[in-house]
Amino acid sequence: MPPFVLVTPITVEAAIAELRTGAPGEVAVLAGGTDLMFDLDGAKAAPRRVVSLRRLPWRTADWNGPVLTVGSTLSLRSLERDPELAKQHPGFLQAIRAVGSVQLRHRATLGGNLGRAAPASDLIPILLALDAEVDLVGPSGSRSLPVDQFVLGARRTALASGELIRSVRFPEPRPSTYLWQRVRPANDISQIAVATAYSPSDGRWRLAVGGIPPRALRLPEAEAMLRSSSPADADVRSAADRAARHLVITTDRRASEEYRRHLVGTLLERAVRSTATASKGGR
Protein backbone atom coordinates (compact mmCIF):
# COMPACT_ATOMS: atom_id res chain seq x y z
CA MET A 1 0.00 0.00 0.00
CA PRO A 2 1.49 3.41 -0.90
CA PRO A 3 2.11 5.68 2.11
CA PHE A 4 -0.45 8.27 3.11
CA VAL A 5 -1.00 10.67 5.97
CA LEU A 6 -3.79 9.53 8.31
CA VAL A 7 -5.54 12.21 10.34
CA THR A 8 -8.26 11.70 12.94
CA PRO A 9 -10.00 15.01 13.65
CA ILE A 10 -12.09 15.24 16.81
CA THR A 11 -14.45 17.98 15.66
CA VAL A 12 -16.62 18.34 12.56
CA GLU A 13 -15.04 21.74 11.82
CA ALA A 14 -11.56 20.22 11.92
CA ALA A 15 -12.65 17.37 9.64
CA ILE A 16 -14.05 19.83 7.09
CA ALA A 17 -10.84 21.86 7.23
CA GLU A 18 -8.81 18.68 6.64
CA LEU A 19 -10.82 17.89 3.52
CA ARG A 20 -9.80 21.23 2.04
CA THR A 21 -6.06 20.59 2.38
CA GLY A 22 -5.77 18.94 -1.03
CA ALA A 23 -7.40 18.59 -4.41
CA PRO A 24 -10.27 16.08 -4.75
CA GLY A 25 -8.70 12.67 -5.24
CA GLU A 26 -5.73 13.59 -3.06
CA VAL A 27 -7.78 13.52 0.14
CA ALA A 28 -9.98 10.52 1.00
CA VAL A 29 -12.63 10.17 3.69
CA LEU A 30 -12.42 7.03 5.84
CA ALA A 31 -15.55 5.77 7.61
CA GLY A 32 -15.57 1.98 8.02
CA GLY A 33 -12.99 1.56 5.27
CA THR A 34 -14.41 -1.70 3.94
CA ASP A 35 -14.62 -0.24 0.43
CA LEU A 36 -12.01 2.54 0.58
CA MET A 37 -9.33 -0.03 1.40
CA PHE A 38 -9.37 -1.13 -2.25
CA ASP A 39 -8.48 2.41 -3.37
CA LEU A 40 -5.76 2.74 -0.75
CA ASP A 41 -4.18 -0.40 -2.13
CA GLY A 42 -2.98 1.86 -4.88
CA ALA A 43 -4.03 0.38 -8.19
CA LYS A 44 -5.62 3.69 -9.14
CA ALA A 45 -4.50 7.17 -8.13
CA ALA A 46 -4.09 6.63 -4.40
CA PRO A 47 -4.99 9.46 -2.00
CA ARG A 48 -2.09 11.08 -0.17
CA ARG A 49 -4.13 12.10 2.84
CA VAL A 50 -6.86 10.09 4.59
CA VAL A 51 -9.31 11.73 7.00
CA SER A 52 -10.78 9.25 9.49
CA LEU A 53 -14.24 10.07 10.82
CA ARG A 54 -14.05 7.64 13.73
CA ARG A 55 -13.86 10.30 16.44
CA LEU A 56 -16.85 12.32 15.19
CA PRO A 57 -20.08 12.01 17.25
CA TRP A 58 -22.12 10.48 14.45
CA ARG A 59 -22.55 6.87 15.60
CA THR A 60 -26.19 7.25 16.55
CA ALA A 61 -29.68 6.11 15.57
CA ASP A 62 -32.44 8.44 16.79
CA TRP A 63 -36.13 7.64 16.65
CA ASN A 64 -38.09 10.86 16.89
CA GLY A 65 -41.80 10.30 16.27
CA PRO A 66 -42.05 8.81 12.78
CA VAL A 67 -38.59 10.04 11.74
CA LEU A 68 -35.50 7.87 11.98
CA THR A 69 -32.15 9.67 11.79
CA VAL A 70 -29.10 7.46 11.27
CA GLY A 71 -25.70 8.97 11.97
CA SER A 72 -23.36 8.43 9.05
CA THR A 73 -20.66 6.54 10.98
CA LEU A 74 -22.90 4.15 12.94
CA SER A 75 -21.94 0.59 12.03
CA LEU A 76 -24.48 -1.22 9.86
CA ARG A 77 -24.44 -4.06 12.37
CA SER A 78 -25.52 -1.74 15.21
CA LEU A 79 -28.38 -0.46 13.08
CA GLU A 80 -29.35 -4.00 12.11
CA ARG A 81 -29.53 -4.97 15.78
CA ASP A 82 -31.79 -2.05 16.73
CA PRO A 83 -35.09 -3.83 17.54
CA GLU A 84 -37.15 -0.91 16.18
CA LEU A 85 -35.73 -1.28 12.68
CA ALA A 86 -37.48 -4.59 11.93
CA LYS A 87 -40.81 -3.06 13.00
CA GLN A 88 -40.53 0.32 11.27
CA HIS A 89 -38.43 -0.42 8.17
CA PRO A 90 -38.42 -4.17 7.45
CA GLY A 91 -37.09 -3.70 3.90
CA PHE A 92 -34.20 -1.59 5.18
CA LEU A 93 -33.28 -4.39 7.58
CA GLN A 94 -33.33 -6.90 4.68
CA ALA A 95 -31.08 -4.60 2.67
CA ILE A 96 -28.59 -4.11 5.50
CA ARG A 97 -28.34 -7.86 5.96
CA ALA A 98 -27.53 -8.13 2.25
CA VAL A 99 -24.35 -6.08 2.73
CA GLY A 100 -21.22 -8.23 3.07
CA SER A 101 -20.93 -10.35 6.20
CA VAL A 102 -21.44 -9.78 9.92
CA GLN A 103 -17.71 -9.05 10.29
CA LEU A 104 -17.85 -6.52 7.48
CA ARG A 105 -21.01 -4.86 8.83
CA HIS A 106 -19.33 -4.36 12.19
CA ARG A 107 -17.22 -1.70 10.48
CA ALA A 108 -19.18 -0.68 7.36
CA THR A 109 -21.40 2.40 7.68
CA LEU A 110 -24.43 3.91 5.95
CA GLY A 111 -22.53 7.14 5.25
CA GLY A 112 -19.68 5.19 3.70
CA ASN A 113 -22.00 3.16 1.48
CA LEU A 114 -23.74 6.31 0.22
CA GLY A 115 -20.60 8.40 -0.14
CA ARG A 116 -18.78 5.70 -2.08
CA ALA A 117 -21.87 5.24 -4.32
CA ALA A 118 -20.98 1.82 -5.70
CA PRO A 119 -23.20 0.96 -8.68
CA ALA A 120 -24.28 -2.29 -6.99
CA SER A 121 -24.85 -0.77 -3.52
CA ASP A 122 -27.40 -2.85 -1.61
CA LEU A 123 -28.52 0.18 0.40
CA ILE A 124 -29.19 2.87 -2.20
CA PRO A 125 -32.30 1.15 -3.73
CA ILE A 126 -34.09 0.90 -0.38
CA LEU A 127 -33.08 4.47 0.51
CA LEU A 128 -34.76 5.54 -2.74
CA ALA A 129 -37.92 3.57 -1.89
CA LEU A 130 -38.06 5.10 1.60
CA ASP A 131 -37.51 8.69 0.34
CA ALA A 132 -34.43 9.04 2.54
CA GLU A 133 -32.84 12.49 2.88
CA VAL A 134 -29.08 12.94 3.12
CA ASP A 135 -27.90 15.58 5.61
CA LEU A 136 -24.63 17.20 4.60
CA VAL A 137 -22.32 19.51 6.48
CA GLY A 138 -19.58 21.55 4.86
CA PRO A 139 -17.62 24.80 4.81
CA SER A 140 -20.68 26.87 3.97
CA GLY A 141 -23.05 25.20 6.43
CA SER A 142 -25.60 22.39 6.28
CA ARG A 143 -27.97 21.25 3.55
CA SER A 144 -30.09 18.21 2.78
CA LEU A 145 -30.71 16.36 -0.46
CA PRO A 146 -33.06 13.53 -1.37
CA VAL A 147 -31.09 10.37 -2.15
CA ASP A 148 -31.93 10.50 -5.87
CA GLN A 149 -30.32 13.95 -6.10
CA PHE A 150 -27.35 12.86 -4.02
CA VAL A 151 -26.25 9.77 -5.95
CA LEU A 152 -25.48 11.01 -9.46
CA GLY A 153 -23.81 8.00 -11.05
CA ALA A 154 -21.30 5.21 -10.56
CA ARG A 155 -19.02 6.43 -7.76
CA ARG A 156 -20.40 9.94 -8.30
CA THR A 157 -22.26 12.02 -5.69
CA ALA A 158 -23.39 15.60 -5.15
CA LEU A 159 -20.87 16.07 -2.31
CA ALA A 160 -19.18 19.45 -2.76
CA SER A 161 -15.57 20.12 -1.85
CA GLY A 162 -15.15 19.90 1.92
CA GLU A 163 -18.59 18.36 2.48
CA LEU A 164 -19.35 15.32 4.64
CA ILE A 165 -22.44 13.17 5.11
CA ARG A 166 -23.59 13.74 8.69
CA SER A 167 -26.74 11.63 8.75
CA VAL A 168 -29.52 10.06 6.72
CA ARG A 169 -33.16 10.69 7.59
CA PHE A 170 -36.13 8.39 6.96
CA PRO A 171 -39.37 10.41 7.07
CA GLU A 172 -41.89 7.71 8.02
CA PRO A 173 -42.24 3.99 8.71
CA ARG A 174 -43.38 2.13 5.59
CA PRO A 175 -44.14 -1.47 4.76
CA SER A 176 -41.16 -2.29 2.57
CA THR A 177 -39.28 -5.19 1.00
CA TYR A 178 -35.78 -5.70 -0.38
CA LEU A 179 -35.05 -8.73 -2.58
CA TRP A 180 -31.92 -9.65 -4.53
CA GLN A 181 -30.37 -12.35 -6.69
CA ARG A 182 -26.72 -13.39 -6.58
CA VAL A 183 -24.40 -16.16 -7.67
CA ARG A 184 -23.70 -16.92 -4.00
CA PRO A 185 -26.34 -15.89 -1.45
CA ALA A 186 -23.94 -14.78 1.30
CA ASN A 187 -21.32 -12.05 1.04
CA ASP A 188 -21.66 -11.46 -2.69
CA ILE A 189 -22.72 -8.63 -4.99
CA SER A 190 -26.30 -8.50 -6.26
CA GLN A 191 -26.93 -9.12 -9.96
CA ILE A 192 -30.29 -7.42 -9.52
CA ALA A 193 -31.95 -6.07 -6.40
CA VAL A 194 -35.35 -4.46 -5.98
CA ALA A 195 -36.78 -2.32 -3.21
CA THR A 196 -40.48 -1.68 -2.78
CA ALA A 197 -42.36 0.46 -0.26
CA TYR A 198 -45.92 1.66 0.19
CA SER A 199 -46.51 5.01 1.84
CA PRO A 200 -49.65 5.01 3.98
CA SER A 201 -49.56 8.82 4.16
CA ASP A 202 -49.83 9.56 0.43
CA GLY A 203 -51.19 6.18 -0.72
CA ARG A 204 -48.44 5.73 -3.32
CA TRP A 205 -45.87 3.07 -4.08
CA ARG A 206 -42.11 3.50 -4.49
CA LEU A 207 -40.25 0.97 -6.58
CA ALA A 208 -36.50 1.00 -7.09
CA VAL A 209 -34.02 -1.28 -8.78
CA GLY A 210 -30.31 -1.76 -8.13
CA GLY A 211 -27.48 -3.83 -9.51
CA ILE A 212 -27.63 -2.21 -12.95
CA PRO A 213 -24.74 0.19 -13.57
CA PRO A 214 -24.34 3.10 -13.33
CA ARG A 215 -26.74 3.60 -10.43
CA ALA A 216 -29.92 2.54 -8.67
CA LEU A 217 -33.14 4.03 -10.10
CA ARG A 218 -36.72 4.72 -9.13
CA LEU A 219 -39.34 3.32 -11.53
CA PRO A 220 -42.02 6.04 -11.77
CA GLU A 221 -43.98 4.53 -14.70
CA ALA A 222 -44.32 1.19 -12.94
CA GLU A 223 -45.17 2.93 -9.65
CA ALA A 224 -48.07 4.75 -11.32
CA MET A 225 -49.58 1.41 -12.36
CA LEU A 226 -50.09 0.39 -8.72
CA ARG A 227 -53.11 2.21 -7.39
CA SER A 228 -53.83 0.82 -3.94
CA SER A 229 -52.11 -0.72 -0.95
CA SER A 230 -53.14 -4.15 -2.23
CA PRO A 231 -53.07 -3.91 -6.04
CA ALA A 232 -54.68 -6.58 -8.22
CA ASP A 233 -52.38 -9.39 -9.38
CA ALA A 234 -52.77 -8.27 -13.00
CA ASP A 235 -51.63 -4.73 -12.13
CA VAL A 236 -48.62 -6.03 -10.23
CA ARG A 237 -47.70 -8.21 -13.21
CA SER A 238 -48.09 -5.32 -15.68
CA ALA A 239 -46.00 -2.96 -13.55
CA ALA A 240 -43.22 -5.54 -13.18
CA ASP A 241 -43.34 -6.32 -16.93
CA ARG A 242 -43.13 -2.67 -17.81
CA ALA A 243 -40.06 -2.16 -15.64
CA ALA A 244 -38.40 -5.29 -17.03
CA ARG A 245 -39.01 -4.20 -20.64
CA HIS A 246 -38.14 -0.52 -20.46
CA LEU A 247 -35.07 -0.36 -18.24
CA VAL A 248 -31.73 0.24 -19.93
CA ILE A 249 -29.85 -2.92 -18.93
CA THR A 250 -26.43 -4.12 -20.04
CA THR A 251 -24.56 -7.39 -19.91
CA ASP A 252 -21.47 -7.48 -17.71
CA ARG A 253 -19.43 -10.12 -15.93
CA ARG A 254 -22.07 -10.52 -13.21
CA ALA A 255 -25.08 -11.28 -15.41
CA SER A 256 -26.46 -11.05 -18.93
CA GLU A 257 -28.97 -8.46 -20.02
CA GLU A 258 -31.55 -11.16 -20.65
CA TYR A 259 -31.18 -12.71 -17.20
CA ARG A 260 -31.30 -9.29 -15.54
CA ARG A 261 -34.57 -8.41 -17.32
CA HIS A 262 -36.05 -11.68 -16.13
CA LEU A 263 -34.91 -10.93 -12.56
CA VAL A 264 -36.30 -7.38 -12.54
CA GLY A 265 -39.77 -8.69 -13.45
CA THR A 266 -39.77 -11.65 -11.09
CA LEU A 267 -38.27 -9.90 -8.07
CA LEU A 268 -40.48 -6.81 -8.46
CA GLU A 269 -43.61 -8.92 -8.59
CA ARG A 270 -42.60 -10.83 -5.47
CA ALA A 271 -41.51 -7.72 -3.58
CA VAL A 272 -44.72 -5.79 -4.31
CA ARG A 273 -46.83 -8.76 -3.19
CA SER A 274 -44.79 -9.13 -0.02
CA THR A 275 -45.07 -5.42 0.78
CA ALA A 276 -48.80 -5.46 0.05
CA THR A 277 -49.31 -8.40 2.40
CA ALA A 278 -47.33 -6.61 5.12
CA SER A 279 -49.36 -3.43 4.69
CA LYS A 280 -52.58 -5.43 5.11
CA GLY A 281 -51.29 -6.87 8.38
CA GLY A 282 -51.05 -3.36 9.81
CA ARG A 283 -47.46 -3.19 8.68
Partner: protein, 158 residues
Protein backbone atom coordinates in the same frame (compact mmCIF):
# COMPACT_ATOMS: atom_id res chain seq x y z
CA UNK B 1 1.45 11.35 10.28
CA UNK B 2 2.60 8.61 7.94
CA UNK B 3 3.69 6.41 10.84
CA UNK B 4 3.28 6.56 14.60
CA UNK B 5 3.38 4.55 17.79
CA UNK B 6 0.26 3.09 19.35
CA UNK B 7 -0.85 0.56 21.95
CA UNK B 8 -3.09 -2.46 21.49
CA UNK B 9 -4.11 -4.96 24.13
CA UNK B 10 -3.56 -8.36 22.58
CA UNK B 11 -5.10 -11.42 24.21
CA UNK B 12 -5.13 -9.57 27.53
CA UNK B 13 -1.60 -8.09 27.42
CA UNK B 14 -0.77 -4.48 26.49
CA UNK B 15 1.50 -4.43 23.44
CA UNK B 16 3.06 -1.07 22.55
CA UNK B 17 4.11 -0.66 18.92
CA UNK B 18 6.44 1.89 17.38
CA UNK B 19 6.67 3.29 13.88
CA UNK B 20 3.54 1.67 12.51
CA UNK B 21 2.81 3.05 9.02
CA UNK B 22 -0.64 4.62 8.51
CA UNK B 23 -1.24 2.14 5.71
CA UNK B 24 -0.57 -1.00 7.79
CA UNK B 25 -3.43 -3.48 7.98
CA UNK B 26 -4.37 -5.07 11.27
CA UNK B 27 -3.87 -8.49 9.65
CA UNK B 28 -0.20 -7.72 8.99
CA UNK B 29 0.30 -6.26 12.47
CA UNK B 30 -1.12 -9.42 14.04
CA UNK B 31 0.87 -11.85 11.92
CA UNK B 32 4.18 -10.06 11.49
CA UNK B 33 4.59 -7.76 14.49
CA UNK B 34 2.94 -9.99 17.09
CA UNK B 35 3.88 -13.24 15.34
CA UNK B 36 0.37 -14.60 15.87
CA UNK B 37 0.15 -16.76 12.77
CA UNK B 38 -3.13 -18.41 13.79
CA UNK B 39 -4.89 -15.50 12.09
CA UNK B 40 -4.84 -16.42 8.39
CA UNK B 41 -4.59 -14.36 5.26
CA UNK B 42 -7.04 -15.72 2.69
CA UNK B 43 -8.37 -13.30 0.09
CA UNK B 44 -7.17 -9.99 1.59
CA UNK B 45 -10.37 -8.44 0.27
CA UNK B 46 -13.06 -9.17 2.86
CA UNK B 47 -14.56 -12.12 1.03
CA UNK B 48 -13.40 -15.16 3.02
CA UNK B 49 -13.37 -14.39 6.76
CA UNK B 50 -10.08 -16.27 7.41
CA UNK B 51 -8.54 -13.13 8.98
CA UNK B 52 -11.39 -12.53 11.47
CA UNK B 53 -10.29 -11.28 14.91
CA UNK B 54 -12.24 -9.75 17.80
CA UNK B 55 -11.79 -6.01 18.34
CA UNK B 56 -13.29 -5.12 21.73
CA UNK B 57 -15.23 -8.37 21.48
CA UNK B 58 -16.63 -7.65 18.03
CA UNK B 59 -15.73 -9.81 15.02
CA UNK B 60 -13.73 -7.78 12.51
CA UNK B 61 -12.02 -8.44 9.17
CA UNK B 62 -8.40 -7.65 10.00
CA UNK B 63 -7.53 -7.43 6.28
CA UNK B 64 -9.87 -4.45 5.76
CA UNK B 65 -8.95 -2.62 8.95
CA UNK B 66 -6.11 -0.14 9.37
CA UNK B 67 -4.18 -0.83 12.58
CA UNK B 68 -4.30 2.83 13.60
CA UNK B 69 -8.09 2.81 13.33
CA UNK B 70 -8.29 0.40 16.30
CA UNK B 71 -5.56 1.96 18.46
CA UNK B 72 -6.25 1.51 22.15
CA UNK B 73 -8.60 -1.43 21.48
CA UNK B 74 -8.52 -4.88 22.97
CA UNK B 75 -7.73 -7.50 20.37
CA UNK B 76 -8.48 -11.22 20.69
CA UNK B 77 -7.04 -13.74 18.24
CA UNK B 78 -7.39 -17.51 18.02
CA UNK B 79 -4.36 -17.81 20.33
CA UNK B 80 -6.41 -16.06 23.05
CA UNK B 81 -9.29 -18.51 22.81
CA UNK B 82 -7.70 -20.97 25.25
CA UNK B 83 -8.37 -18.45 28.04
CA UNK B 84 -11.97 -17.86 26.99
CA UNK B 85 -14.76 -20.22 28.17
CA UNK B 86 -16.85 -19.60 25.03
CA UNK B 87 -13.74 -19.99 22.88
CA UNK B 88 -12.91 -23.31 24.52
CA UNK B 89 -16.48 -24.59 24.07
CA UNK B 90 -16.47 -23.64 20.38
CA UNK B 91 -13.11 -25.31 19.78
CA UNK B 92 -14.24 -28.47 21.57
CA UNK B 93 -17.39 -28.57 19.43
CA UNK B 94 -15.28 -28.23 16.25
CA UNK B 95 -13.05 -31.02 17.53
CA UNK B 96 -15.92 -33.39 18.32
CA UNK B 97 -17.72 -32.69 15.03
CA UNK B 98 -14.52 -33.11 13.04
CA UNK B 99 -15.25 -29.67 11.65
CA UNK B 100 -11.99 -29.15 9.86
CA UNK B 101 -10.06 -30.58 6.98
CA UNK B 102 -7.02 -28.47 6.10
CA UNK B 103 -7.74 -26.12 9.03
CA UNK B 104 -6.97 -22.89 7.21
CA UNK B 105 -10.43 -21.40 7.68
CA UNK B 106 -10.88 -22.76 11.22
CA UNK B 107 -9.49 -19.83 13.26
CA UNK B 108 -11.75 -17.43 11.33
CA UNK B 109 -14.81 -19.64 11.87
CA UNK B 110 -14.06 -20.07 15.58
CA UNK B 111 -13.56 -16.35 16.15
CA UNK B 112 -16.64 -15.41 14.10
CA UNK B 113 -18.77 -17.89 16.05
CA UNK B 114 -17.44 -16.73 19.42
CA UNK B 115 -18.25 -13.16 18.39
CA UNK B 116 -21.80 -14.16 17.40
CA UNK B 117 -22.40 -16.07 20.63
CA UNK B 118 -21.25 -13.08 22.66
CA UNK B 119 -23.42 -10.74 20.63
CA UNK B 120 -26.53 -12.91 20.33
CA UNK B 121 -26.32 -14.92 23.54
CA UNK B 122 -25.84 -18.66 23.95
CA UNK B 123 -29.45 -19.43 23.03
CA UNK B 124 -29.34 -17.95 19.51
CA UNK B 125 -31.07 -20.30 17.02
CA UNK B 126 -28.70 -22.55 15.06
CA UNK B 127 -30.14 -21.51 11.67
CA UNK B 128 -29.52 -17.84 12.43
CA UNK B 129 -25.98 -18.52 13.60
CA UNK B 130 -25.29 -20.45 10.39
CA UNK B 131 -26.68 -17.62 8.26
CA UNK B 132 -24.48 -15.17 10.13
CA UNK B 133 -21.42 -17.32 9.41
CA UNK B 134 -21.97 -16.69 5.69
CA UNK B 135 -18.90 -14.45 5.60
CA UNK B 136 -16.57 -17.38 6.30
CA UNK B 137 -15.50 -19.64 3.45
CA UNK B 138 -14.17 -23.19 3.79
CA UNK B 139 -12.24 -23.95 0.65
CA UNK B 140 -12.36 -27.70 1.47
CA UNK B 141 -16.17 -27.20 1.44
CA UNK B 142 -16.48 -28.96 4.81
CA UNK B 143 -19.62 -27.05 5.71
CA UNK B 144 -21.69 -30.01 6.88
CA UNK B 145 -19.39 -30.79 9.78
CA UNK B 146 -19.02 -27.10 10.63
CA UNK B 147 -22.83 -26.87 10.81
CA UNK B 148 -22.79 -29.99 13.01
CA UNK B 149 -20.34 -28.29 15.39
CA UNK B 150 -22.70 -25.33 15.72
CA UNK B 151 -25.63 -27.66 16.47
CA UNK B 152 -23.60 -29.61 19.04
CA UNK B 153 -22.68 -26.39 20.77
CA UNK B 154 -26.27 -25.14 20.95
CA UNK B 155 -27.65 -28.48 22.17
CA UNK B 156 -25.29 -28.35 25.10
CA UNK B 157 -25.94 -24.73 25.95
CA UNK B 158 -27.46 -24.36 29.43
Amino acid sequence: MTSASLVLTVNGRPRPLEDVPSSERLLDTVRWRFGLKGTKEGCRSGDCGACTVLVDGVSTLSCLTLTHEVEGSSLTTIEGMADDPVGRAVQEAFDRAGALQCGYCTPGFVIALVGLLRERGQDAPVEELLADLGGNLCRCTGYVSIARAVSLLQKEAP
